[in-house]
C-alpha cells in the first residue's frame, strides 16, 4: 500500500516539475511561460512592471543543442504581448515580432512556439510589444552544446544587466517626444562655459558653443535617458547580486545587456576577464581588463578568482551617470570595495564626423602587425572611445575573431547602405531619413550575401539588430570576422557587416535602443526565394560549405 502511494507521489511530483520551469534534459522539452504584471523593487524604488512566471527578470531557459523545443506562452496582461528569442535562428513564424512574424498574443491567449535549437551559447528573450521590455519583460537563454565546450569552467552564472527607470516606458517616450533633453540632466552650464574659457580661451569657447548650437544638440548627450537604476539579475547596487565561487575555480560569466537604452563598461577590479564568446558564438580567447557591452549584446567571459575574498562586478553606464554592481564571493554576505565612476565623457566634433583641423601624423593602419592604440570603431578624436579604468586593456571589436567561422568567406553579391539618421529636437529616428511607417521593406534574395554599410550621421551610438540571420561584422580579419546578432555603430563612424541570406520569410531589422526603434529606426526585411518546404522542422544554419 505504501509503495504505490510513493509511486503516485513521485509521478505527481514529476508532472508538476515539468509544468514548472525546471529544465528537462530531453530532446523535446516543453516549457511554460506566463506573462504577468509584477512588482519590481530596485532598492531605490518599487514600481509595477511586467515579468515572466511572476518575476522580472524572467527565468533562465536552458536548452540543448538539437532539441526540438515547445514553449507555451500565456498572456495574463490586459494588452497584447509577444516574446522574441533574441539571436536564435528559427522559422520566421516563431520569431515573435507582432505584424511581422504573427499578430501577437492576445490577453488570455496561449501561443505555442515550436522550433529546433540549431546553435549553442548565451542568448536572451524579451517582449517585442510596446515598451513591455523596458517595463521588465526579459529573461535569458543558455544552450548547452552536444560536443565538448572549447574552454573549461567549473561553474557559470548569467549576469544580466538592465536600466530600470522609475517612469514607465510609455511615459518616457511621451516625455522624449515633448522635449528630447527631458532626461538629459547634464546640460552644460555657465560654470562650464567659464571654466572652458579659462582653459581654451574666449573665442574658441564661443565658437564651440555656436557650432553645437547650430546643430541643435547639446555636447553632453551621451545618454538619451538618465535617472535609471542599473540592475544585475534584477538586483540594484544596494541589493548586490552575488555569485558564489571556490577559490581557483574557473567561473564563466554570461554577460547579457538587456537594457532599454544603456551601454555598460564592465570590469571586475582584481580580476582579468577572458572573452570566449560574443553574441553566442565562440571567439578566439582574448583577455581584457574591461569591456563595453552594447544594448542587446552578450559576452561570455571566464574569470579565475584565486583568493578567498570578494570581488566587485562593476558596470558603469557609458555616460558615467549610474552603475550596476554585483559581487563574486566565496561565501554569502561578503562584499568588496565599489570603485568610483570615471569623469563623464563629452562628445566631440569628431563624433559628429567633423574634423576641425586636427592633423593626424603617420597613417599606422597600413603597417602590418603594428597595433594602433586607437580603436577604429570610434571616430578619430572621439570623446566616447573607452579606456580601461586601471590603465589596462579595453576590449575593442577589432579583438573579436571567430573561433570557428560559421560561413565560408566569399565576396558580397551586393551592398546596401543604411544611413542612421535622426532629428534630435523632435526625437525622430530613422534610416536613410525615412521612418519605419513611411518606408518600403528591404527586399533580399535567398542565397545572396549582402554587405550592409551603416553610416552613422547622428550623435548617438546605435546597436543595430537584424533578426533571423547572422551579421558578420567586418573587423578586418577576413575569414575570421565574427558573426554577431547586434552591431554597435558609434557616432561619426561607418561600419560594415555581411549577411548570408539563408532564412526565408520576413524579419525585423532595427536599432535596439527601445525609444529609437519606436521612433522609427526600424525596417522590415523580406527574404524571397529559398526552399519551398520551409516547414517548422527544417531550418538550415548556413549556406552549405
Amino acid at each position: 500500500m505504501r509503495k504505490s502511494l510513493m509511486r503516485v507521489f513521485s509521478l505527481g511530483l514529476m508532472a508538476s516539475m515539468s509544468t514548472a520551469l525546471l529544465p528537462v534534459l530531453t530532446f523535446a522539452g516543453t516549457y511554460n511561460l506566463t506573462v504577468d504584471k509584477v512588482l519590481i523593487d530596485t532598492g531605490d524604488f518599487t514600481k509595477e512592471g511586467i515579468g515572466y512566471n511572476g518575476k522580472s527578470p524572467g527565468p533562465i531557459l536552458r536548452f540543448n543543442e538539437g532539441e526540438e523545443v515547445t514553449i507555451n506562452v500565456t498572456n495574463n496582461l490586459e494588452e497584447t504581448t509577444s516574446i522574441h528569442w533574441h539571436g536564435l535562428i528559427l522559422p520566421y513564424q516563431m520569431d515573435g515580432v507582432p505584424k511581422i512574424s504573427y499578430p501577437g498574443i492576445e490577453p488570455g491567449e496561449t501561443f505555442t512556439y515550436k522550433f529546433p535549437i540549431v546553435q549553442t551559447g548565451t542568448y536572451w528573450f524579451h517582449s517585442h510589444s510596446g515598451f513591455q521590455e523596458p517595463d521588465g519583460a526579459y529573461g535569458s537563454i543558455v544552450i548547452d552544446p552536444k560536443k565538448r565546450k572549447p574552454f573549461r569552467f567549473d561553474r557559470d552564472y548569467v549576469v544580466q544587466f538592465t536600466d530600470k527607470h522609475p517612469h514607465s516606458g510609455k511615459r518616457i517616450m511621451r516625455n522624449l517626444k515633448m522635449a528630447s533633453d527631458y532626461y538629459n540632466r547634464q546640460q552644460q552650464t555657465l560654470g562650464d562655459f567659464l571654466s572652458d574659457v579659462n582653459k581654451n580661451g574666449f573665442e574658441a569657447t564661443v565658437s564651440d558653443r555656436l557650432d553645437w548650437g547650430s546643430m541643435r544638440m547639446m555636447a553632453t548627450d551621451v545618454e538619451d535617458v538618465q535617472g535609471f537604476t542599473p540592475l544585475i539579475n534584477g538586483k540594484g547596487p544596494e541589493q548586490n547580486w552575488t555569485g558564489i565561487f571556490n577559490p581557483k575555480e574557473r567561473v564563466l560569466l554570461r554577460l547579457i545587456n538587456s537594457s532599454a537604452m544603456t551601454y555598460f563598461d564592465v570590469r571586475i577590479p582584481g580580476l582579468k576577464m577572458t572573452v570566449v564568446a560574443s553574441d553566442g558564438n565562440y571567439v578566439q580567447p582574448v583577455t581584457v581588463d574591461e569591456l563595453r557591452i552594447g544594448v542587446a549584446e552578450t559576452y561570455d567571459v571566464l574569470v579565475r578568482p584565486k583568493d578567498d575574498k570578494a570581488y566587485t562586478i562593476f558596470g558603469a553606464s557609458m555616460g558615467q551617470t549610474a552603475y550596476a554592481r554585483g559581487t563574486l564571493a566565496p561565501r554569502d554576505g561578503m562584499s568588496a570595495d565599489i570603485p568610483e565612476m570615471s569623469i563623464r565623457p563629452l562628445l566631440t566634433m569628431a563624433d559628429m564626423g567633423m574634423d576641425h583641423g586636427t592633423m593626424e601624423g603617420m597613417d599606422h593602419s597600413s603597417m602590418r602587425g603594428m597595433g594602433s592604440k586607437e580603436d577604429k570603431f570610434y571616430a578619430k578624436g572621439s570623446g566616447i572611445a573607452p579606456t580601461a579604468a586601471n590603465g589596462g586593456k579595453f576590449l575593442s571589436y577589432v579583438d573579436l575573431k571567430a573561433q570557428k567561422p560559421l560561413y565560408k568567406e566569399r565576396e558580397a553579391t551586393r551592398e546596401i547602405e543604411l544611413r542612421l539618421t535622426g532629428n534630435m529636437e523632435r526625437y525622430i529616428w530613422s534610416i536613410n531619413g525615412v521612418k519605419y511607417e513611411d518606408a518600403d521593406p528591404i527586399k533580399l534574395q535567398y542565397g545572396e550575401r549582402v554587405r550592409f554599410k551603416f553610416v552613422n550621421e547622428t550623435m548617438m551610438t546605435h546597436p543595430m539588430h537584424l533578426h533571423g540571420m547572422w551579421s558578420i561584422l567586418d573587423v578586418g580579419a577576413g575569414k575570421w570576422n565574427p558573426a554577431k546578432h547586434t552591431i554597435s555603430v558609434a557616432p561619426g563612424t561607418t561600419v560594415y557587416s555581411e549577411t548570408e541570406v539563408d532564412a526565408t520569410g520576413q524579419w525585423a531589422f532595427h536599432c535596439h535602443l527601445s525609444y529609437h526603434a519606436d521612433a522609427g529606426m526600424f525596417r522590415k526585411v523580406v527574404v524571397e526565394g529559398g526552399p519551398k518546404t520551409a516547414s517548422l522542422t527544417t531550418t538550415g544554419k548556413g549556406v552549405p560549405q
Partner: protein
C-alpha cells in the same frame, strides 16, 4: 618514513634509491636546503630516447588538451606524441605557472610581429632579428608549437619539481583553460 626490511633485503640498488629518497625528503622537511638548482632541475630536462619508459599521446583541441591530467614518476622519461587536432595554432609546453606566464608575453610579441597567426606559424619570420640580439626562434626542447594537423615529439625526463603544468601560451588560450597538470610521484 619507515622502510620495511623485507622490501630492502637483497636489492642494493633499491636500497640506495630508497635511501636517497628518504634523505631528500628529510632535507625538504628540515628546510635548510634549497631544493631548486635553478628552474631546469625542477622542471626536468630533455630525455634520451633509450630511457623512454612509456609514450603518451597528447591531442590539442580548441582550446583544451586531451588528457588534462598526467601522472609521472620522478626521474621517469616520457615520450610525448603531440598532435594538433584543432583549427587554431597551439603549443604544448612543459613548465611552471611562472615560466608559462613569461612565455605568454613572448608569444604576444610573436602575434604582434605577425609571426604567429590564428591558424598559421610563419617559421621563416622567426629567424628575424628583433634588434636587441634576440630572435623569435621557437626551438626549446620542452615545447612544441604546431599549426593544425602538425605533429611533434618531445622526450622529457621528469625531475622532482612541484606544480608542473603543461600549457598552451598562445594569447588567451591559457586563460581559457588550455593547461593540464603533471602529478609527480
Amino acid at each position: 618514513m619507515k622502510i620495511k626490511r623485507s622490501f630492502l633485503s637483497g636489492v642494493a640498488g633499491v636500497t640506495l634509491t630508497a635511501t636517497l629518497a628518504v634523505s631528500t625528503a628529510i632535507a625538504f622537511a628540515a628546510g635548510n636546503q634549497d631544493g631548486h638548482h635553478g628552474d631546469k632541475a625542477a622542471t626536468g630536462e630533455p630525455g634520451k630516447a633509450s630511457e623512454v619508459s612509456r609514450t603518451i599521446e597528447i591531442k590539442m583541441f580548441d582550446a583544451y588538451y586531451e588528457p588534462e591530467d598526467i601522472s609521472v614518476k620522478k626521474g621517469e622519461t616520457i615520450r610525448f606524441k603531440v598532435v594538433n587536432a584543432g583549427e587554431l595554432v597551439h603549443e604544448f609546453n612543459i613548465g611552471t605557472a611562472a615560466t608559462h606566464s613569461a612565455h605568454q608575453e613572448e608569444m604576444m610579441l610573436m602575434v604582434e610581429h605577425g609571426v604567429l597567426e590564428a591558424d598559421k606559424v610563419n617559421r621563416n619570420m622567426m629567424k628575424m632579428g628583433m634588434g636587441n640580439g634576440m630572435t623569435m626562434d621557437h626551438s626549446d626542447p620542452n615545447s612544441a608549437l604546431l599549426a593544425p594537423n602538425e605533429t611533434a615529439e618531445i622526450i622529457w625526463k621528469f625531475a622532482d619539481g612541484e606544480e608542473l603544468e603543461f600549457a598552451c601560451n598562445v594569447p588567451g588560450h591559457y586563460d581559457a583553460g588550455m593547461m593540464g597538470e603533471f602529478s609527480i610521484e
